[in-house]
Amino acid sequence: MSHHIVEVRNLQHVYSDGTAALKDISFIITHGESVGIIGANGAGKSTLLQHLNGSLEPTGGSIHIGHTPLSKGTLPDIRRTVGMVFQDPDDQLFMPTVYDDVAFGPLNLGYSIDDVEQRVTEVLELVGAGHLRDKPPYHLSGGEKKRVAIATVLSMSPDILVMDEPTNGLDPFARRQLMKLMKDFKHTRIFTSHDLDMVLELCGRVIVLHEGEVWADGPPLEIFGNSKLLAECRLEKPLSMQGCPVCGNNPAKDIN
């Protein structure tokens, strides 16, 4: 049995104010897949992500993580399996120093102090933030905060990484750095993003959400080649697939 499978069946969610954010969502994501969830603002991306580790309860349908149904009893286990990186790192980094923050998860899991120390050092090195360990989060730049936020989740050794808008608000260099980092992960990865070029580069599969429903599910080139679908869902081709503004050459022409 693999822990890395995410299965969502007929998921529905209605907010208490009556907004139906998710209408009927079904998909299976298997071991090691890298999946981008895209869609317009308000399409239901963030709501969907919050279901994956039980932060929100479904109104209907079910979620299975590695064949374990998500319920109150399995929640602690599932939260260890699914590492969630929030959109705003200020929400995620709440401890006094970077070290304390990265150690927060492992300490809650009951690891020994020595074990925690080793893990924290390892993951901080992995995300290239070893030199930040004693700094308070408010002294970090946006890119540094993001990398540390990822480290706080990696320190719990999750099987599945879920990230909400990982490249949001980063400068081009920090964005590149983060994408390289995410490319190297062996976990099952699920991102939401409006950064379609990142999705094209990092994901082997794209799920398009529109008004709370799955509108399309397939390989990125197929999805981004379908202009009608993109227009319907208020999306457009990634910039790297659009024509050059100077010479008019379209690098994606041959593919489509």
Partner: protein, 270 residues
């Protein structure tokens, strides 16, 4: 909103000072908290008309600033910021208390002025000591020390969260208030009306953020207990530091050292 912005920058600077590496910085935070506590009690418990006995206490802030390599001007400015509040507390003393208790040549000084000066001296000493404590220890370590000395964990955690999010919230309110200022074109905007709505929005946003933070904590296995990951040592240097300073403070509290020195000097040179 420049003032809020500057205040945050100052707070960050105070925080950075705590990263220094002097003999004072290296001491266990509990020792410094204890000494500051004893210092404060000894200073505050003096009689209201006491002034001369307070002067020798200035040796503590002066010694700490020089030993910990703190910028004295910066600390003095921070203390000066609180002066208006202290003045407001003591300003009526000279008005109500007009009994002359000190005669300097032909000028009579009333009890009110003496007690006013005493309040100023005491607040300078205690506020200064608190700033020096934070600048040489760091707010987090102070909280952890207080917890180690028996403060309930809940308070320590609350203080830590408050400190962590003060930066986020002041930046947020600074932005909102700047946006309002820019669109009110130098006038009052819509006065208290728009201001009320702005504060309300900030409160709601804070609430939402709190919910997201709680979610982030739950996502990482939070079950209600904070686990300490740091061990600290209360060794010989700490014991020496606490004993030496407390002994001095208690001596200064019960013996007016200024008078002693005065009588010694006048005794030597009659």
């Amino acid at each position: 909103m420049a003032s809020i912005h500057n205040a945050v920058l100052d707070l960050k600077r105070l925080d950075l000072l705590a990263n220094g590496n002097s003999s004072i910085h290296r001491l266990d935070a509990r020792a410094k908290v204890l000494v500051t506590l004893i210092f404060t009690i000894c200073v505050v418990s003096n009689d209201r008309y006491e002034l001369t006995a307070l002067f020798p206490f200035f040796i503590f802030p002066v010694a700490m600033i020089s030993l910990a390599n703190l910028p004295p001007l910066f600390i003095m400015k921070k203390i000066a910021l609180l002066c208006p509040f202290v003045v407001a507390v003591g300003i009526f003393n000279p008005v109500f208390d007009r009994v002359i208790i000190l005669q300097l040549g032909s000028i009579g000084i009333s009890g009110g002025w003496i007690s006013f000066a005493s309040i100023m001296a005491r607040s300078t000493l205690t506020v200064g000591a608190a700033f020096i404590l934070v600048a040489s220890t760091g707010f987090t370590a102070v909280c952890q020390a207080l917890e180690g000395l028996g403060m309930p964990k809940v308070f320590a955690v609350q203080l830590l969260f408050l400190y962590r999010y003060i930066f986020v919230l002041t930046e947020e309110s600074g932005r909102a208030s700047r946006a309002r200022e820019l669109r009110s074109c130098g006038k009052k905007g819509q006065g208290i009306h728009s201001f009320g709505s702005l504060v309300g929005h900030l409160l709601l946003r804070t609430w939402q953020r709190a919910e997201r933070i709680h979610m982030a904590m739950l996502a990482r296995g939070f079950t209600g207990a904070f686990h300490a990951s740091r061990q600290s040592r209360f060794g010989i240097p700490e014991i020496r530091f606490v004993l030496a300073w407390s002994a001095l403070f208690i001596f200064l509290r019960f013996q007016n050292a200024s008078q002693l020195l005065g009588s010694l000097v006048t005794g030597l040179f009659p």
